[in-house]
């Protein structure tokens, strides 16, 4: 009995033998020998093998019992049509047997469907947990190449799309073949000639199947899929670009692109439908009850008239013959859903197959926190290196500033430290140990980072700050929040530190970045990696970053993508990155004196900054209390005259 679960994405029926997802196969030893992903799927399904068996068994018993009432009609016919007086007792026992069959069918199929769906829920939860666990271990860098929405879809919709395989396919598929098989045996026993005739519609329908598999059809199907993909792309573009589209008059372009994609899609759909529909309609017709009945009656009439078949023997064919079409119908319908489910399973397996950054078998503990990059090369894709041979030493107690034009590889470089990626060549060493040899727990206890793309969890502010230090004291959390310049703002929230972000209050981008600063400050790791661009969301965040850099002195190793001149001037070492290579390095003063790339960069930055500083000086000079700032400007002037650069420690 088909109990249907209406999912958000639509309930789908899949009734095909998909090797990868048919649990019977997937749980088998053959699949287990395959890729890790397959092992994952099989491993996931193995604990449920008995439940699956129960679902199938119950369904088959129920479905076969469903034949009982039809057979009862047949027996009733034989009794009534037989010459001589009718045996009342026999008739009533036949009727009771039919009713009993119906009852068995009701109970067993209901049980099968119920168990199947509960099982489905469990398997889906297990799949999702497995996916979450895998996603919790893949290299962080892997995420940057993917859209989160896409991955969320795998965990959500794709797992749901497997539903028919688990809840429906095993039982329905087996019974779609078991019931006709039983009927066929019975019918052969009754009259083999009429059985063959009854099979004519099935043969006709099957004969049409190859027409659905023609190369042209396959091509149309592929075009259809491609057009569907284009529609999805154009919709995303349409929606994301809507503000631009509107602001630049006439929603023409994107709208047209969408409509073109839509028309293309409908065209492809049309071609596909036209190619398939006549054949499909023909199949439907061949399998339709009136046609099957006509064939059976015509054959039966001929056999009764000429072959001496007993009229009563016609009845089973009228009643059971129709059921013989079930397997073909099952194969024909739900083909789309089956393919959709198979694609979904493919995507799930892709995610499960992603390898984590290998954890060391014998983790080494870093000694100290000097960071060293040795001959590091890295590319996101083969043949296009983003970093091309980086040698760099970051000493404890120093600040290293990375500068360089956009696209020079700065962000990639700093992301190697928290091991978002492993270098393709060379190595990154922390305290003398290769990052690949350090356990991830140790690594993240040593390295923390503040990057621009901050997302807060829908959880309390305190939990958000303490995310990396789950058992932190409230006092420590508050101290970190103060340092990150966000404490006052938190107190303004409806429930202070207990406010659930995203439900009770929203925070701006800059505020979110300050929360992220607080996280890093609370984690209090000896190595800190920071992207200063973060600071530019608003002045408060800028101050937070600056304060953090000033507070975190001492023994820490700090690597910062510098955006502000002050940071560059205060750094112990400046590294100029261009096109994936370090073109200059040294103390800021040294580099200025060398009058190379850094000096050019400095001048362009200064000219860009000049009027701002001016404006600040002019305005501030008028307010007497602010004259100290002028000395800061003077000290900056010194830099330009190459007299000497205030080293970070001097300035402090």
């Amino acid at each position: 009995m088909p109990v249907r679960q209406a999912t958000a994405t639509g309930s789908v029926t899949a009734t095909g033998p998909a090797a990868t997802s048919d649990p019977a196969t997937a749980a088998g030893p053959a699949a287990a020998a395959g890729s890790p992903a397959e092992q994952g799927m099989a491993g996931l399904l193995r604990p449920y093998a008995w439940s699956f068996a129960a679902v199938v068994l119950l369904q088959v018993i129920g479905a076969v019992a469903g034949l009982a009432p039809l057979l009862a009609v047949v027996e009733l016919g034989r009794a009534l049509l037989s010459p001589g007086p009718v045996d009342h007792g026999h008739v009533w026992s036949v009727v009771v047997a039919g009713a009993a069959g119906l009852f068995v069918r009701l109970v067993f199929t209901a049980a099968s469907a119920g168990i199947g769906h509960v099982l489905d829920g469990r398997v889906q939860l297990a799949f999702r947990r497995r996916l979450a666990a895998r996603l919790g271990h893949v290299p962080i860098g892997w995420f940057s190449r993917r859209r989160t929405g896409e991955l969320a879809k795998v965990v959500g919709q794709d797992v749901s799309a497997v539903h028919p395989f688990i809840a429906h396919a095993p039982g329905e598929l087996v019974s779609a073949f078991a019931v006709p098989l039983v009927s066929l045996v019975y019918l052969f026993a009754v009259d083999w000639r009429l059985t063959l005739i009854t099979l004519i519609p099935v043969v006709l329908a099957v004969a049409l199947v190859p027409l659905l598999m023609l190369p042209a059809r396959t091509r149309e199907q592929e075009e259809f899929d491609a057009a569907m993909g284009r529609i999805a792309d154009s919709v995303v573009e349409f929606v994301q670009g809507i503000a631009v589209v509107k602001a630049f008059g006439g929603s023409g372009r994107a709208h047209r692109a969408f409509l073109t994609a839509a028309d293309d899609f409908v065209g492809a759909f049309n071609r596909w439908v036209r190619g398939v529909s006549q054949v499909a309609a023909g199949m439907q017709l061949a399998l339709s009850p009136p046609f099957v009945l006509l064939v059976v009656l015509a054959g039966g009439a001929a056999l009764i008239a000429t072959g001496g078949m007993a009229p009563a023997d016609l009845l089973p064919f009228l009643l059971l013959g129709l059921g013989l079409t079930a397997p073909v119908a099952a194969l024909g319908h739900g083909l789309d859903d089956m393919q959709a489910a198979r694609r979904a399973v493919g995507r799930i397996k892709d995610v499960l197959a992603v390898r984590s950054l290998p954890e060391p078998a014998h983790p080494v503990a870093p000694r100290g926190h000097r960071v060293e990059l040795r001959g590091v090369r890295f590319g996101y894709e083969a043949g296009r290196e983003v970093l091309r041979g980086i040698d760099l030493m970051l000493e404890p107690g120093t600040v290293t500033a990375v500068v360089g034009p956009s696209g020079s590889g700065k962000s990639t470089l700093v992301r190697l430290l928290p091991r978002f990626f492993d270098p393709t060549h060379g190595s990154v060493l922390l305290g003398g140990a290769d990052l690949r040899g350090i356990g991830s727990r140790d690594l993240y206890r040593t390295v923390s980072f503040v990057f621009q793309d901050v997302r807060l969890l829908r959880a309390s502010v305190a939990d958000n700050i303490a995310l990396a230090v789950p058992y932190a004291d409230r006092d420590d959390v508050v101290r970190a929040a103060r340092l990150a310049n966000i404490h006052d703002r938190i107190l303004e929230l409806p429930r202070g530190y207990e406010t659930v972000i995203g439900e009770e209050a929203g925070l701006s981008g800059g505020e979110a970045q300050r929360i992220s600063m607080a996280r890093a400050l609370l984690a209090d790791t000896p190595v800190l990696v920071l992207d200063e661009a973060t600071a530019f969301a608003d002045p408060q965040t800028e101050q937070a970053v600056r304060r953090a850099l000033a507070t975190l002195e001492g023994d820490r190793t700090i690597l910062v993508i510098a955006h502000r001149l002050e940071t560059v001037a205060d750094a112990d070492t400046v590294v100029v990155l261009e096109d994936g290579e370090i073109v200059e390095r040294g103390a800021p003063a040294e580099l200025l004196a060398r009058n190379g790339r850094f000096a050019a960069f400095w001048r362009s930055h200064r000219s860009a900054l000049a009027d701002e500083t001016e404006s600040r000086t002019e305005s501030l000079a008028e307010t007497e209390s602010r004259t100290e700032t002028e000395s800061q400007i003077e000290s900056r002037t010194e830099i330009e005259t190459h007299d000497g650069v205030p080293r970070g420690d001097e300035a402090r």
């Binding site: 088909p2 109990v3 209406a6 999912t7 958000a8 639509g10 309930s11 009432p69 009733l76 049509l81 009533w92 039919g98 829920g121 999702r128 979450a132 919790g136 271990h137 962080i140 959500g156 792309d233 573009e237 929606v239 994301q240 809507i242 509107k246 602001a247 006439g250 994107a254 839509a262 899609f265 409908v266 439908v273 309609a281 009945l293 009439a301 009563a312 009643l319 696209g407 993240y444 621009q452 995310l467 990396a468 230090v469 929203g506 984690a523 661009a533 002045p539 800028e542 101050q543 955006h563 002050e566 960069f601 930055h605 900054l609 701002e612 100290e628 700032t629 800061q632 001097e650 300035a651």
Partner: protein, 575 residues
Amino acid sequence: MIRMLLRVLGPEYAPALRRTVILMTVTAAAEGLSYALLVPVLRALLGDTPADAGPWLAAFGTAVAGYAVLRYVSDLSGMRVGTTMLRGMYHRLGGHLARLPVGWYGAGRVGEVSVMAGQGLLQAMSIMAHLLAPFIAALVTPLTIVAVMLAFDWRLGLAALAAAPVVAAIQVRTARSTAAADAERHERDKEAAGRVVEFLQAQPVLRAGGRAGERFELLDGSLRELQRASRRTVLATLPGAVGLTFTVQAVFTGVLVLGAHLALGGGIGAAEVLTILVLAARCADPLLSLSDIGGKLRSARAELDRLDTVLRTEPLPEPREPVRPVRHDLEFASVTFRHGGRTVIDDLSVSVPQGQRLAVVGPSGAGKSTLLQLLARFHDVDAGAVRVGGVDVRAMSTEVLMAQIAVVFQDVYLFDGTIEENIRLGRPDASGAEVRAAASAARLEEVIGRLPGGWAANVGEGGALLSGGERQRVSIARALLKDAPVVLLDEVTSALDPVNEAAVHDGIERLMAGRTVVMVAHRMRTVRRADRVVFLDGGRIVEEGGHDELLRRGGRYAGFWEISAPAEADRAASA
């Protein structure tokens, strides 16, 4: 259901849809009626004169042929109408999305709309192509068969008819009880999807806390909830499905018992009873498939509901007699704007004389960007008026208003195409030389030089192949090319390295020359270029005046900028 389908489709498809539904109904009835001929056929075959069956069998053959033609035509027509409607639907949805106010496009919309326009639409339209015909057949054919049974034997016919009200009641009840469970499940689905996104985005931090290994409770909780919700959905569907099966089987058993009783009592011929039982079996199969089809229909309907909701969202009203402004001064007159239950702009008045520059400064969430959005009429105000050249923006046609304004957004979206195409969006009829001039004024040449393919280089979806600063420069070039009298700038300063920043500022300076400008400013350097500054907090103007004047006043504005001063001062003092 049909009514909803018609509303979503629009009236022009009503005749085609109605024709198809009628065709499907006739086909289903023809199937039922053709079975009437089974009675004389079987009476002859099962009786004493099998030879008499010939003519009746021929008649049945003719009926089946008629049914075949009808069925074939109606199947093809269903698919054809389905595709035509699909096309119409895409155009309707596309046109509607283009008219919806930009304000409607919040954060979650991208995913929602793309799912809707992709699979959602297809699923909604599958009602036409795949679901409607079986559904109609599952209802109409059994009813016709029961009518045939009634004609041959009223007692057995009535017994079979007893199923009708029960089946109807079960369908209605199931629809109602599953609706709630489905809605809850949909909610849980969304919730879980949100948690997954969160979990993914928080990965770096979670790992930093060494928490990647353990189950992340926020996510796991929502996954468990999802499982519970789907179990509830099953529980809501199961009684209906079991009830339906039970009813159909009970009635079949009833007919069987009654038939046996009548036959034994001699009240009816054996052939008639057997024929009617064959017919009853023909009734049962389609009825049993109802719960299956019903489930599919319900989820397609849910999709249809979502489409309907979007299509019923009203675009901002267009004026009947649009006014064209002649001046380019800007004015907010006692403007109040609420969004998501919050007053974002609170009775705010400010004006910008033609050719002047107004800087808007304030803490995050003060409503700065909203001011720009109201000028561009991404939303309509709740009270007061926004005027360009003295004309209320609501009195202008969208084209005229947009022709007055060039906007540089905070987050720049580029279309997947070449840089040139993206710039040309500013003025589609611009000459190649003009496009190049705009690009060069925005200092794009070095970017173009760096890209493999130069001008013809593709920028990727959303401009993903360019850095933030580079995208910003493209958007400035676009605005320069548009050459509109009013410029709105939502300053982007994060994500810019110094080189980009200098380039962006150069471009912006050129863009502002001689135009009326409103800029949301995060950096003092930009503010210096403004004639006047308003300091915004909580949707109200807290301070207003020239930059220097406000600094001297030492109020909120001064405090806002001075935040950066003490650290410098400390350092300078100790140096």
